[in-house]
Symmetry: C2
Subunit: 144 residues, 2 copies
DNA sequence: AATCTTATTGATAATTAATTTCAATAAACA
DNA sequence: TGTTTATTGAAATTAATTATCAATAAGATT
């Protein structure tokens, strides 16, 4: 189900500002902060009110249509949410982020931690950081 | 090596405000925001300037003496850093957090993701969320 | 297609969080 | 005990987020 149908089925309107926010997120290669998203729309002559950027991100992330990704120094960025259980890996050099799938990913670890701590695990936050293929090449070049 | 020696070896001073910040973090059961930490010091008649709270957390986290933990709704809290490679599990009810050790924790997953995405993994962020033993009991009580 | 209803928007104000500035203070050391 | 200077506290500044409210437009109803 696409996000527009999802919105309207829940009684929310598919407004022009919401379309613009989703258009940016769907073509972005990296998580964007609300301010960056707003700047992008300005630059593309698709400006909307800054308050609407915050409102839209708030609504769409509450519905799971967009999701929060923590960037290297702790800033929260937003990305269009991919399908199914997944996590993100971010490039520390160019900030480009891609998803990787993860269903059975942590089950052993979780069992171990539940026994060790006696906490009951209900959710998790997992992100990987490193270098994307392109930035690996650049690093190799510099060392020649 | 304790944090005071670590600081002075690097030429930083072991000041009263820094001692107060560490005293709070070392006795806290949960990650605290800068504002919460400042409030705590106020309540205990150990007040220091708010700017000093920010400055101290900035310095000590840059040195690895304190560390950032993401709380449930995305706020960043600070905790005294434990020794060695570890992660945290947080209670979604009472916010209490404990460490669990993790050295070999993600090696398989990381191999898999490196092959799948061609990213080179250099770091990771992992936190678990759930219910601490005490809050599990309370939940069980309510359902009787 | 015109009209109605009301969710949503944009502009601005208000709030909250974080950083900067700088004279006064107090750690560390001789 | 005196000297040096990193650090502090208070206030000002900047940045980020939220609230307010009249104007607008999305979607439903004729
Ligand atoms: Mn997972
Ligand atoms: Mn680990
Ligand atoms: Zn890259
Ligand atoms: Zn608990």
């Amino acid at each position: 189900m696409n996000w527009q149908k999802q919105l309207s089925d829940l009684g929310f309107r598919v407004s022009a500002p919401r379309k613009r926010v989703m258009a940016v997120l769907e073509s972005a290669q990296q998580p964007l902060t609300p301010l960056e998203l707003h700047q992008t729309l300005l630059r593309d002559h698709k400006a909307i009110g800054l308050a609407s950027v915050y409102r839209t991100l708030g609504l769409l992330s509450a519905l799971g249509i967009v999701e929060v990704v923590y960037r290297s120094k702790g800033e929260m960025g937003y990305m269009a949410a991919a399908q199914g259980h997944h996590h993100h890996i971010l490039c520390q050099e160019c900030q480009r982020a891609v998803e990787f799938s993860g269903l059975e990913d942590l089950s052993e670890l979780i069992d171990h931690v539940e026994n060790q701590t006696h906490y009951q695990v209900r959710d998790h936050l997992l992100q990987l950081y490193g270098l994307c293929p392109e930035c690996q090449s650049k690093h190799a070049d510099e060392k020649e």
